[in-house]
Amino acid sequence: MAKDDAVHAEGLVKEFGEVKALNGLDLVVPRGQVVGLLGPNGSGKTTTVRILATLLKPTKGVAYVNGFNVGKQADQVRHSIGLTGQYTAVDEFLTGRENLRMFGDLYHLAPHYVKERSQELLEWFDLIEAAERPAKTYSGGMRRRLDLASSLIAKPSILFLDEPTTGLDPRSRLGMWGVIESLVAEGTTVLLTTQYLEEADKLADDIVVIDHGRVIAHGTAEDLKDQIGGDRIEVTVADLERVRDAQTALAPVFGGESIVSHSMVSGPVSGGSTVLVDVVRLLDSQNITIADLALRRPTLDDVFLSLTGHGAEDENPGKPASGTRRGRNRS
């Protein structure tokens, strides 16, 4: 039943003039879960969040948040959610504490509650020393934390995080991830948009991959990786001359689907790490010396590339254009 989920959207279409930002998007976020909405710039992530947060009306389709219709029961929806946008939406001339007070007041919370809650949020988000300084003096990471703290003032059960770590340095990003994980551990439902595959992989229970305004894949990070085939083994031989021999020797393991590139033979395997033993044995029997041997899981980069034909991080020029599935190695 649609109303039992934290978020339930069906057939969302959003047109801006000629441009179709969303083209029949379906999305379900079960209560207490983290769903990552993954897609490149312009894929419709932010539009989706804006519709769910009652900022935009869909051209077609229907969406429920916390059981309330986003079009007809906007006020109830707004009481249920916290929104942290891509751009830190705090008043930079107000101090951290004044910002929290303003948002608390606008949520219509009792003054004494706002005061206590602001204090604990400032403590938790490590902003207590900066609490009486205008937000414009904050670093990027501090502003983002203040922004998230502002969304938490009314203890919303559902949190929309639109690219919460875009533009943050790695250390601040880790800090943000820690906060999000602790919110989730407590039962807050999170819908997170990101263009960082690593972020979705780390935080989300369930990943929805969107492109051109529709869902192109859906599942856990593991499911998605399995979709493009399981693990791959990469063997680098010490002697370049013998790379073809190695390919022949490994035919029983790779089943004819191996690829040779320079001194490396790679191919898909099933059975995980036990296959490594077979590889070593087969090559050893032919007296082929192994320079490097790796079993690697496909990354979400690989998933994205195979699903859309283009990389996930648009602005990253270092993507292979040939369609060979070579992502960053991750252990």
């Binding site: 804006r50 001339f93 303003m102 948002f103 949520y107 219509h108 919370l109 509650y113 809650r117 938490l152």
Partner: protein
């Protein structure tokens, strides 16, 4: 950072709903924050105050001796001290018109920074962000008018018709300031970015204030402009304040202005302010509901 407790601690305590709904409460919250924020930018406040002061000094000392005031200058010779008496209400009127620019820039910035998006995702009154912002900008004019009045006093301007009439004059100026902030709000929500807001916020105010009796008597204007100036609410506002402060009006004793807008300047000012608010407040609120960060 430590463990953040969102759901596992006590639930939030809500305020009880005010008798008249949330709009007033939310508007006050926004107005309070807007005023607080404006004191955090002392340089902006300084320039907002310094501009009218420069106008006073320029007009009083540069043009003062060159502009004769009919009915006030004995023998028709221009008298600089009389011109300063005539000038000050004009500067007041022009200055409060600039309150619109603050709303334009403020709202364009709030929109660009995503604060308006955040407001719109809150369960607050949807018109409060604008009512609060316009109200704060009008209230800030109290400070501006105070500084200006002191400057005026120094160059020889006086309140000649009692304190009560002077209070009416100041209230009329604040009403006008509040009116133009709604126009400014609409402009601020309609422009694509803050850079445009900086220009668009000012561009209509200059002709509006100069095509009036603020600095020169109406009779010195060519006929088409004179007609526009006569029904320009800036003219009726300035004439009304001249009368209420007991300053020279630019009309000789016993002569009547030829336009009814200037025969009943207080009434015409109140009516035109009401009409402008009546048009631009709903326009701005409707715009607010549909805009979002680009």
């Amino acid at each position: 950072m430590s463990q953040v407790k969102n759901l596992s601690s006590a639930p939030p305590v809500a305020m009880s709903r005010p008798l008249l709904g949330w709009t007033l409460h939310d508007s006050i919250v926004i107005a309070r924050s807007t005023i607080l924020a404006s004191f955090r930018i002392p340089e902006a406040l300084f320039f907002q105050l310094i501009q009218p002061v420069i106008f006073v000094l320029l007009f009083a000392y540069v043009f003062g001796g060159a502009i004769p005031i009919p009915g006030a200058d004995p023998g028709g010779a221009a008298d600089a001290s009389l011109y300063r008496q005539y000038l000050m209400p004009g500067i007041f009127g022009q200055t409060v018109a600039f309150a619109a620019a603050a709303s334009t820039v403020g709202l364009a910035e709030a929109m660009q920074k995503g604060i308006i998006d955040r407001y719109k995702a809150l369960p607050m009154s949807q018109s409060a962000a604008l009512i609060g912002n316009t109200f704060a900008n009008a209230l800030r004019q109290i400070l501006v008018l105070t500084v200006l009045s002191i400057t005026g006093y120094i160059v020889g301007w006086r309140i000649n018709d009692g304190i009560l009439n002077a209070i009416y004059a100041y209230l009329l100026l604040l009403l006008f300031a509040y009116t133009v902030t709604w126009v400014g709000a609409f402009v601020g929500l309609s422009v694509p970015n803050t850079e445009t807001a900086n220009t668009a916020g000012l561009i209509w105010i200059f002709p509006l204030t100069f095509l009036s009796n603020a600095f020169v008597p109406l009779d010195s204007l060519p006929s088409v402009l004179k007609l526009f100036a006569a029904y320009n609410p800036v003219s009726s506002l300035v004439l009304a304040t001249r009368q209420l402060f007991g300053n020279p009006t630019g009309y000789a004793p016993g002569t009547e202005p030829e336009f009814w807008s200037l025969q009943y300047p207080v009434l015409y000012t109140v009516i035109s302010c009401s009409v402008v608010i009546g048009i631009f407040a709903p326009l701005a609120i409707r715009k607010y509901r549909t805009v979002s960060r680009r």
